[in-house]
């Protein structure tokens, strides 16, 4: 049994790290057209995530791969039940990826405008839909022995949409803080202002989310059984308050770390509430996909545990190393001079 739990924790961690990292890419992508006063500033904004967005996105691919390897039944049913929603996320992510790479390759205003729209949609749509998807997973999907009794529009229920908005606001604040850390002067000031203002909206939505969760989902049941777990959502709330505390003092890096912590703890809050389910059934708990009834064999889980223990620390080490190499602030001058920049 314990290997399923190990993989449940790893599964949650992969998603948490993915949202923490690609989250600021999404925020930057959503904000870049609104924050920049001219093309040079747009390029600065895009280049803050240039060296890292691709590596960040791999956390998603690994989360998908880990779901496949460790919980194949969940992988199969989740991906086929959410076919249309995933298709939209997929197109959006493809659009964003090529937009980053191709935007600067032709010197034409309409070319760049087109890719700017692609970057916006490729960031906003996945941010929203990942939230909608997780909101629906928290609530449970209408599924039974016969399969899934819903459509794309079933997912767009009030709780799903609220979770979607929560994700978008989290990532906008996160991305704005990233920009205020990674740039100087006008962009940094404007980004900081947006982070500070959006934070109020985030706070309101977060409170609504925590309350609505009690009515729409079963997530709190685990917490009531073992009060100690409440420490996770409490840290999430404290980290959320920390963002404002640091941001209003102009301590952007600390504010950014707080928003990292907020995103990770929000994800864990949901994941802990789900246990032992990966996808609950909203029709009857006996149809829920749990980590026990949808997992791979113990042999496979053991092999995958060894692989994860060997390689994930190495991945984390070299990603941190690359982040450190690119830790400096970007300036308009520097980006304009750099031929290789996006």
């Amino acid at each position: 049994m314990e290997f399923q739990i190990i993989w449940f924790v790893l599964w949650g961690t992969l998603w948490a790290v993915y949202f923490m990292l690609d989250g600021f890419d999404f925020g930057v992508g959503i904000l870049h057209s609104f924050l920049a006063k001219n093309d040079a500033e747009k390029r600065v904004i895009i280049n803050t995530v240039g060296p890292v967005w691709d590596g960040n996105e791999v956390w998603l691919i690994t989360a998908g791969g880990a779901t496949f390897a460790a919980f194949p039944t969940t992988y199969a049913l989740m991906f086929s039940y959410l076919y249309s929603a995933l298709l939209i996320i997929l197109f959006a992510l493809i659009f964003r990826g090529v937009a980053f790479e191709f935007r600067g390759k032709v010197d034409s205003d309409s070319w760049k405008k087109g890719w700017d729209i692609a970057i916006f949609l490729g960031s906003f749509v996945p941010a929203l839909l990942f939230g909608v998807a997780f909101g629906n997973i928290f609530q449970g999907l209408p599924m039974d022995a016969e399969g899934y009794h819903g459509t794309l529009f079933t997912l767009l229920n009030p709780y799903g949409l609220l979770t979607g908005i929560l994700f978008v606001l989290l990532f906008v604040v996160h991305g704005a803080l990233w920009l205020s850390v990674k740039t100087n002067g006008g962009i940094s000031t404007r980004a900081s202002m947006i982070a500070n203002k959006t934070w109020y909206a985030l706070l309101i939505v977060a409170v609504l989310f925590l309350i609505y969760t009690a009515f729409a989902t079963n997530l709190y049941a685990n917490y009531l059984q073992s009060i100690l777990w409440f420490v996770v959502p409490v840290i999430a709330v404290l980290a959320l308050l920390g963002i404002k505390l640091f941001a209003s003092k102009g301590q952007h890096l600390k504010a950014f770390y707080s928003s990292c912590l907020t995103i990770v703890m929000v994800t864990f809050t949901g994941v802990i509430g789900l246990y032992p389910n990966l996808i609950p059934s909203s029709i009857d708990p006996k149809y829920s996909l749990t980590i026990f009834n949808s997992s791979s064999s113990i042999y496979t889980l053991k092999i995958m545990t060894v692989v994860a223990l060997l390689f994930v620390p190495v991945v984390i080490a070299y990603q941190i190393w690359v982040y450190r190499i690119f830790r400096h602030k970007l300036t308009v001058d520097g980006v304009m001079k750099d031929e290789e920049a996006y």
Partner: protein, 448 residues
């Protein structure tokens, strides 16, 4: 059309599109890394210019390979849920390992390589493109071990209504997977070598930067010569493995209907699948097919009639694709040899016909690669996992034909658009040629 047919079409289309970009990535990453290594070793700026020029084309191509790869991972669950449930225990592992050991490395160090020119030392910069090259090749290994398992399932038992892994090492050492990996890898190297030769030929025809493109062409030709010969040799071993593990695929590749011993190789064959025979069989070389299949001229080869009709793959596509691929493979060795000799003798500029041929040969290795995948995947039908699970039992139950219609049309339009943009950019930057001014990079990297 039903969801099964549409899903098969969609998987074929998205995989074929993905495989336009991936093989060039496999080969061009190595060539670019080699160029940069030469620059670090010799300090010859021409090698730096080569790194920058071919590296730029590499990046334009790389972007589409990466993003279209996500589609492949998602589709196993989206369209092939029954497959994923049935084999996920053993098939999911190599995919997850691929992401963990290869995708992270590739995606992290490509960022360092693009943006790190002035931030790390020359050696570390060259190391980063080597890590990208190693990672892309490693990624090919794991996905082809996964595909190798679909072709020749090993290391599993059927238990709890699914295929469960019992021997991970059997999966990792599956000879089918390694042959598929070597063959695919080498085909990517040939694609890259012909790409470099073809674009160099374009500029040499225009007498543009001849020193730069002669050196590029020569590097491409040397790479092409080695890899095209190895490709053919590995291809021969691969076919022998198919004869052993997938008799129906092998019989379809050769359009062999009757079980025979000491089978000749007929140079001219026109299959007539409707009547379960060949309309024409001529110019036979005695015992050659038996020799190719089992390295024994008298060996028996099973014909298609040995198997129930429901277990046979489509003969025409498999046969034509295999013949086309093999013929192209021979052509590549010939062209590589001529190109190598001519560039070695420094006679490229006066051989305008060769240059023209090499320019128009750029698409040929791509076509051969696509034909190879048709042999591999169509030839495996009606099985999705050879002998274990039928393709018709693998499709998702939850998806409707209209959903897949929408996604198939969406992919076609979206990928079509991306393909046009990518070819436009590749052409634009290929024609533009190398930048002359590298002063900023050289100056700044000295400061590090």
């Amino acid at each position: 059309m039903d969801a099964l047919t549409l899903s098969r079409l969609q998987f074929a289309a998205t995989a074929a599109f993905h495989f336009i970009f991936v093989p060039l990535t496999l080969g061009l990453s190595i060539l670019t890394a080699y160029m940069e290594t030469l620059y670090v070793r010799t300090n010859d700026e021409l090698y730096l210019k080569m790194t920058k020029f071919w590296g730029k084309l590499f990046l334009i191509n790389f972007a589409l390979g990466v993003v279209t790869g996500i589609t492949m991972e998602f589709q196993f669950g989206m369209n092939w849920a029954e497959y994923s449930k049935y084999v996920g225990d053993i098939f999911g592992a190599p995919l997850a390992i691929e992401a963990t050991v290869a995708f992270f490395m590739e995606s992290t160090f490509i960022g360092l390589w693009i943006f790190g020119w002035n931030k790390v030392s020359k050696k570390v910069h060259a190391l980063s493109i080597w890590l990208v090259a190693i990672a892309t090749n490693l990624s090919a290994l794991w996905i082809l071990l996964a595909n190798g398992w679909m072709q020749k399932p090993v290391g599993y038992i059927l238990r709890n209504n699914r295929a469960e892994m019992v021997d991970f090492m059997a999966l990792v050492t599956n000879p089918y997977g390694w042959l598929k990996f070597s063959h695919t890898l080498l085909s990517g190297y040939v694609i890259a070598a012909f790409f470099v030769m073809g674009i160099s030929a374009y500029h040499l025809l225009k007498k543009n930067k001849t020193d730069f493109f002669k050196r590029s062409f020569k590097m491409g030709a040397t790479f092409a010569l080695f890899t095209s010969i190895l490709l053919f040799i590995v291809g021969d071993f691969h076919a022998a493995e198919v004869a052993k593990s997938q008799p129906t695929k092998f019989a379809a590749m050769e359009s062999l209907w009757e079980t025979q011993k000491a089978v000749p190789y007929n140079l001219l064959v026109i299959p007539d699948p409707a009547n379960e025979r060949n309309a024409v069989e001529a110019i036979g070389i005695p015992k050659l097919l038996s020799f190719l299949a089992f390295h024994d001229g008298n060996a028996e080869i099973k014909g298609l009639k040995e198997f129930p009709k429901g277990d046979r793959p489509p003969v025409m596509i498999t046969f034509l694709s295999f013949r086309g691929m093999a013929a192209l493979g021979i052509l590549f060795m010939l062209l590589s040899l001529i190109s190598y000799v001519v560039s070695k003798m420094d006679r490229l500029e006066s051989n305008r016909i060769l240059l023209r041929i090499m320019l128009y040969s750029i698409p040929l290795p791509y076509i051969a690669g696509q034909l190879g995948w048709l042999v591999a995947e169509v030839g495996r039908q009606p099985w999705i996992v050879y002998g274990v699970l039928r393709t018709s039992d693998a499709v998702s139950k939850a998806i409707t034909p209209s959903q897949v219609w929408v996604s198939l049309i969406g992919f076609t339009l979206f990928y079509g658009l991306l393909g046009i943009i990518d070819i436009y950019l590749l052409t634009k930057y290929s024609k533009k040629g190398p930048d002359d001014d590298l002063s900023s990079i050289i100056k700044m990297s000295r400061e590090v």
